[in-house]
Amino acid sequence: MARTTSIMLAGVGGQGTILASRVLAQLLLNEGHDVKMSEVHGMAQRGGSVTTHVRYGKDVDAPTIAPGQADFMLVFETMEAARVAHYLKPGGTIVANEREISSLPILIAREEYPDDIPERLERRGIDVRWADAYSIADNLGNIRVENVALLGAFSTVLPFAEDAWKKALTQVIPERHLKINTAAFDKGRQLGKK
């Protein structure tokens, strides 16, 4: 059976992981792949953790990624990187946003935000490429494009041309938001190349 590649996106409800996964899926379809994409709605939307599983190849079977099987991960929040780390395949790559969003136990001062996430991921032997997508979005004047900036950084780890990404962005993002999103993608991609 032809090999299937697995990409997991993880973040916090409201961070725009779904838009990023839609752009990714569109790109993969354009490139002629079979694609399956799985996400769970519901309670997760109220500030909970969210993940999207994207798998592509010739004929994709399972709609979800099992622990230890993700080739790539795109993580939108620091603590979430640790939460999903065990899904990564040995030798796999995580592109993670340097962004800390406090969860309920931290907001109500029962726990503190962990300050050792990068070290813990390093101890697991994981290749994490940290990116500050928030600053890119902030500098562009709209923090909502943080997701596409991060996608830009992630785009460098996959074997697809820049034009292919741009085409997918054009297909998924409404015309009136395209300019700032393209700018965010470009900045992110520059960051990813470093």
């Binding site: 994409m37 769970v40 909970g48 709609p63 622990p67 939460r83 065990h86 406090s102 109500i108």
Partner: protein, 585 residues
């Protein structure tokens, strides 16, 4: 080029292509988007029903009247609709009727993970299970043909992974289907005992014919690989099995698993050395295989609980050579009330009272979690009021002089769904339950669906607006109050007044969901006066995503705060203030 569709989108598309003219549902994760997508097709009249029972009865009426009709609900919704479900099998249909049950293995958004394939067997209905979006689309069309050919409703079972998972789909075109003439037939549409007995005989006869169909239909197919291992599977489990075993096994993939295709299974079993069933949740297929005297493995290797994935399947059969990766221990990220949520203040006040709080199904189920720790129960839709009656009665029986008090808390849509009958029960039985109806003007939990109180229909057109206060008064409740949930003093006083009354009472807490765009009112955010903050952290008891502590002092994230003002009312030192319009903090 093929497009990516969720299972729910594919079902909507398949229904449209199948010439469906009418569709009903009550929203429930993971089924909600089926009707939302169907509403986009002009040829199909679609409506939110008040609950799943009314949805199925309405759909059955539509089918008997002559239109191809679809009815969708989540798995626990079928419990509510079980009464008409069983009758529908006896009477059968006129035009095609397909009932979608969206099961939730893994309890992603449900109070249980019941396996609704068992309903097909219990109610004696044909059961169809697609494995991906393309099959969802194709099988819906077959389901309508089957429904009309055998005059039976068809139960169409999907799971969360299929409902919300996207896979590639090639679409077709709509084929118009002429309405079927309605002919009065009391021999099957009036289920009095004499008719019902005859209907049951006809139903058993139909099941035998459907089993023949199940043995020959394209829905059930054999894929030959190695004959050392034979795998029987259905639904998404087929893809997990195929991912793990590929050509190293043969597959009997059941797209129609009830009535159970016995001969097909016997023939398949005879060709393979080892026979296993790979299925999620209950051993539905496995038990049926064993019942015909064939040796089979299944749940002795695979879990009955939760979703499967390819790793679980691989490990069950010794196909994985590595250890299961151990997750990092990380602080949890449970869902929480949004900034500006109208439920926040009500639960803050309720949590301080020495009462038992019977909760219900909706965003406000979160009121049971810290720091509110208010609600004591969440049973099923509408149970807040009826279980509250039970608590209040029992407390009264145990301590007639000074009974502990119960307060039921229920959302607007849940109240219309199945809370109203409980409220009438409280009045009828004279139980002094306090019922709080959280009217946030929308069915919020499932993603903002209209309901009988919201003033709009699924089509987007305006609809008559039910008023919980008027319903309560019509039922004979004397103490009916309306409160602004952003006014904590008013909420507190009204709760105290109602608890002082030994008769049943209702408090309607009315304010739109903070995420409801059409009702959005932009208010300036609040800030914490850093010089005045005394680090007491009382404000953290309202658990707002905008409120956090830095260097011991409370702070508010102005980008998240929507200016609801609950935290400012909780602060005892007046240090939380609203930014004046145009000014700086």
């Amino acid at each position: 080029m093929k497009s990516l569709m969720t299972g729910n989108e594919a079902i909507a598309r398949g229904a449209w292509e199948a010439g469906v003219r009418f569709a009903t549902a009550y929203p429930g994760t993971p089924s909600t988007e089926i009707l939302e997508n169907i509403a986009g097709y002009d040829e199909i009249h679609s409506q939110w029903s008040v609950n799943e029972k009314t949805a199925l009865e309405t759909a059955l009426g539509g089918s008997i009247a002559g239109l191809r009709t679809l009815c969708a609900m989540k798995h626990v919704g079928l419990n509510v609709a079980a009464d008409p479900l069983f009758s529908s099998a006896y009477m059968g249909v006129n035009a095609g009727l397909v009932i979608i049950t969206a099961d939730d293995p893994g309890c992603h958004s449900s109070q249980n993970e019941q396996d609704n394939r068992n309903y097909a067997k219990a109610a004696k209905l044909p059961l169809i299970e697609p494995s991906n979006s393309q099959e969802a689309l194709d099988y819906i069309k077959i389901a309508f043909e089957l429904s009309e050919a055998y005059r039976t409703p068809v139960l169409f079972r999907i799971t969360t992974r299929l409902a919300h998972g996207k896979s590639t789909v090639a679409v077709g075109e709509r084929v118009e289907v002429e309405p079927r003439e309605y002919v009065r037939d009391v021999s099957r549409f009036v289920l009095m005992p004499a008719q019902a007995r005859a209907c049951h005989i006809a139903l058993e006869d139909r099941l035998a014919k459907l089993e023949d169909y199940a043995c020959s239909t394209q829905l059930n197919r054999v894929e030959w690989g190695s004959r050392k291992l034979g795998i029987i599977c259905s639904g998404v489990a087929y893809h997990y099995a195929h991912e793990v075993f590929g050509e190293e096994a043969s597959y009997l993939k059941l797209g129609m698993s009830y009535p159970f295709p016995k001969q097909l299974v016997r023939d398949f079993a005879a060709e393979v050395d080892r026979l296993v069933v790979i299925e999620e949740l209950d051993p539905f297929i496995e038990d049926a295989v064993r019942a015909i005297g064939i040796e089979v493995e299944g749940k002795s290797l695979l879990p009955r609980v939760g979703e499967l994935d390819s790793s679980i399947v691989a490990r069950a059969f010794g196909k994985a050579d590595d250890e299961t990766p151990v997750p990092e221990k990380v602080t949890g990220r449970p869902p929480m009330f949004c900034a500006g949520c109208p439920h926040r203040g009500v639960f803050y006040e309720l949590g301080k009272l020495p009462v038992v709080i019977t909760g219900d199904i909706g965003c406000y189920t979160l009121g049971s979690l810290p720091p509110f720790a208010a609600s004591d129960t969440c049973i099923c839709m509408g149970a807040s009021i009826s279980a509250g009656i039970g608590f209040q009665k029992a407390f009264g029986i145990m301590d007639p002089e000074n009974p502990r008090r119960a307060v039921a808390v229920i959302g607007d849509s849940t109240f219309y769904h199945s809370g109203m009958t409980g409220l009438l029960d409280a009045v009828y039985n004279g139980v002094g339950l306090v019922t709080v109806i959280l009217d946030n003007r929308i069915t919020a939990m499932t993603g903002h669906q209209e309901n009988p109180g919201s003033g709009y229909a699924l089509s987007g057109q305006t609809a008559p607006e039910a008023k919980p206060e008027e319903i309560a008064k019509a039922f004979g409740i004397k103490r009916v109050a309306t409160v602004d949930p952003y006014d904590l003093a008013q909420v507190k006083k009204t709760l105290e007044d109602s608890l002082a009354d030994p008769h049943p009472s209702v408090i309607v807490s009315r304010a739109p969901c903070a995420l409801l765009k059409r009702a959005a009112v932009r208010k300036p955010p609040y800030y914490v006066d850093q010089d005045a903050c005394r680090k007491c952290k009382v404000c953290l008891k309202v658990a707002c995503p905008a409120l956090y502590v830095e260097d011991g002092k409370a702070r508010i994230d102005a980008a998240v705060c929507v200016g609801c003002g609950i935290c400012a009312q909780v602060c005892r030192f007046g240090t939380i203030k609203q930014i004046e319009k145009g000014g700086e903090n």
